[in-house]
């Protein structure tokens, strides 16, 4: 088991503005971990399965994934399904972080095996508050080692 300091946060988010706002607010909450931004679902899968442009990448640190649902190429559901369907990757904690608050989609994500589902509010005060709380939450989360 690793403390969060050694964990890399994978932020899968196609909107660079959202990514920046999330990062800003996580940092404000005291998260200092490296944050790796992947802007399509395909890149997230390629990275995790060491395919395509990430085939030669070195991955030693354990991960925690913040996953948006509305993504180009492969959407969040497909990425989630790929992770949770793989015996080596399914232990990685996945936090769904999206604007959708549709109950059907929330239910579907938990059924696919997501660990936490957080909504990005449109109102910025609430957005800030949500990400801050998420940051505080992440700071006490423990993540399994890389196999």
């Amino acid at each position: 088991m690793e403390h969060l300091e050694h964990v890399t946060i994978l932020l899968v988010e196609d909107d660079p503005g959202h990514a920046r706002l999330i990062e800003k607010n996580l940092r404000r909450a005291g998260i200092v971990n490296p944050i790796l931004l992947l802007d399509t679902g395909q890149k997230a899968v390629d990275f995790l399965f060491k395919k395509g442009e990430y085939a030669e990448s070195e991955q030693t640190a354990p991960f925690l994934i913040l996953l948006d649902l509305n993504l180009p190429v492969l959407n969040g559901f497909q990425v989630l399904q790929a992770i949770k369907g793989d015996p080596r990757l399914k232990a990685i904690p996945v936090v769904i972080l999206t604007t959708t608050d549709n109950p059907h989609e929330i239910k579907r994500c938990y059924e696919l095996g997501c660990n936490v589902y957080v909504t990005k509010p449109v109102e910025y005060e609430q957005f800030t508050e949500s990400i801050r709380k998420l940051g505080l939450f992440l700071s006490i989360v423990r993540v399994p080692d890389r196999q």
């Binding site: 909107d15 503005g17 959202h18 706002l21 800003k24 509305n70 910025y124 800030t128």
Partner: protein, 676 residues
Amino acid sequence: MKTKGKLTLIVGIIGAVLSLTAAFLAWNTIATYRLVDSVTPALELLTTLNEIQSKLHRQQHALAHFVISGEPASRQALITFRGEIDNTLQRLAEMAARLPARRDKRQEAVVADSNLLRAGYRLYLEKLESCLRAQKAGDSEAALRILDNEVTPYWEEELLVIPSRMAREESAEIRDIYREITLKLGALPWVAGSGLRQVTQASSGVDYEFAVSNTELGLHRQVNELSEFLLHAETQDWQEFWGHRFEMRRLFEDWHQVILRQRAMGIDGEDEDEKRFAGILAQYEALLPRMEQAVTIRVSLGRTAGLEYVEHHLMAPMDDQLFPALEGIGDDSREEIRALHEGLLRTVVAGSFAGLSAIVVFSILVVWLVSRMSNGIVNSLARLKEGTEVIKGGNLEHQITMPGGDEFSELAAAFNAMSLSLKEHNDELRSFVFSVAHDLRAPLVNLKGFSSELRSDLAAVMPVLLAASNSLAAEERGRVAAVLQQAVPEALGYIDSSANKLDALINAVLQLSRIDFRALDPELVDSEALAQATLLTFAHTLKEKNITVSLGPLPAVVADRLLLEQCFANLVDNACKYQVPGRIGELSLTAEQTGDEVIFYFMDNGRGIAPDDIPKVFEIFRRVGAPDTPGEGMGLAFTKALVRLQGGRIWCESVLGEGSTFCLALPGGGAPDRSA
């Protein structure tokens, strides 16, 4: 006219046509019956006429005999014949009076002729009397002279021609009647076969009867020709008598032809007829040598001897055998005809009854079939209507079930396919709207987020920048302060307010597109209580805007309570918004039951809507009239969607400057009736 009405009309027309046909056939049957029935009296008339002719011959013969011989017996015969002829004439007159009225005033002619005949016979009797008186006075020569000059010419040229003409006319009449019967039977298809055969047999029976009576009359004429010769022994009389043998041969030949024709037709009993005919012919041929003998006696022994011979050797056997035999044959023939007529009448009546029954059964069957078919069509249409009502009510998944495999079930299948395809398009459109609205939110997060970041960043550096700007020249310092304290906050303010506005619009679209996801929960709602509750929530606004409300009695309706409440609230809210400044507001809420709908009326005295704008008020984000009232232009679009979801309709009637009435119609009759 509704389909059911039309089909009923068709059934009625078919029924009427069949009834008319039946009536025509019944009329035709009765007419045929009458015709057949009228043959019998005509035949009786004919027989009577023949009888009269025959008796007139006999009387004339007896007179000649008496004038020559003066025998009391022949005088007695004269008296007897006179009585018989009187009786027969009397019978003829009665018969003529009883004859059924026929075409061409035939009956009147017969009555007139029979009167003429009676008058003629009376005149003949007068002449006969004068002849007898001369005889009685012992003046045989005078009597003979009267006989030759007055009685015989009158008898031959005036009297005998009357019954002879009548008989000719009557037999023509009988043939006409048979022709007409044949025509009438043609229109009665179910009697035609056996009926026509019976008519042909009866008609040929009448021919037979004619042949027999013609033969009988021919014999009488022959005997009278012979008597003429015996009286005067003139060559011309002898020639006439002799020539008459050929006439007789022709008459026998005619008779025989009738028998042969009947045999060819396969009528029973022709062997018997043939035998009887041969018997008569043999008797006649046996008498021919006696006639020649009478001529010889007259020439050698004189008039009296000749007449005596005729009386005893010719007339006696004829009276004893030949005439009774002929009469017997005539009677049998008439009996046969009568039997055939009865059979024919039975056939016509039975056939007509069977035909009429068939037509009635057929009519009932046709009417039954058509009404069954029409019920099927009407039921199918009702089913289709019911189904389309459900689909119209918004349930696009509803499938109309229509068994039968006919055009209606094909139509139902087409309806089902159409509503399913509509549903697919609808679903696509709905999820498109939903995802577009949703995707619009993502950039909104950035707009709001970064403007907020900018504001807080600016606030953070503001004191530093202001402090630093102190080192600048006064003019530049002023510009920096203006940017930092006015221009940037103002720009951020616009960005924020626009983002908020956009957010509100997107939320509205999302809300609208989510309405359809909601499952309906219809229940019996007391709409008056619901309206009161709604008005209560608006109490503050109403008081503030000085609007008086009148609430009419409202019925209970079957509806989704929550949706109906939202509709009411939106319509009240709408009425509050568009008041005319300075005018005391009035809002009246009433309802009406029309056919299969309950209609609610929200009538205000607000600013009203221009006619061109009325359809636009229900469009999303569309706001008409002066833009002085807050709102997103969502309320009525939302209300329309809510009403549509419940299968209702909403529309607006308005006069610009005077006020508007919003009409909300919900399906279903008065709930108390329906739920009862």
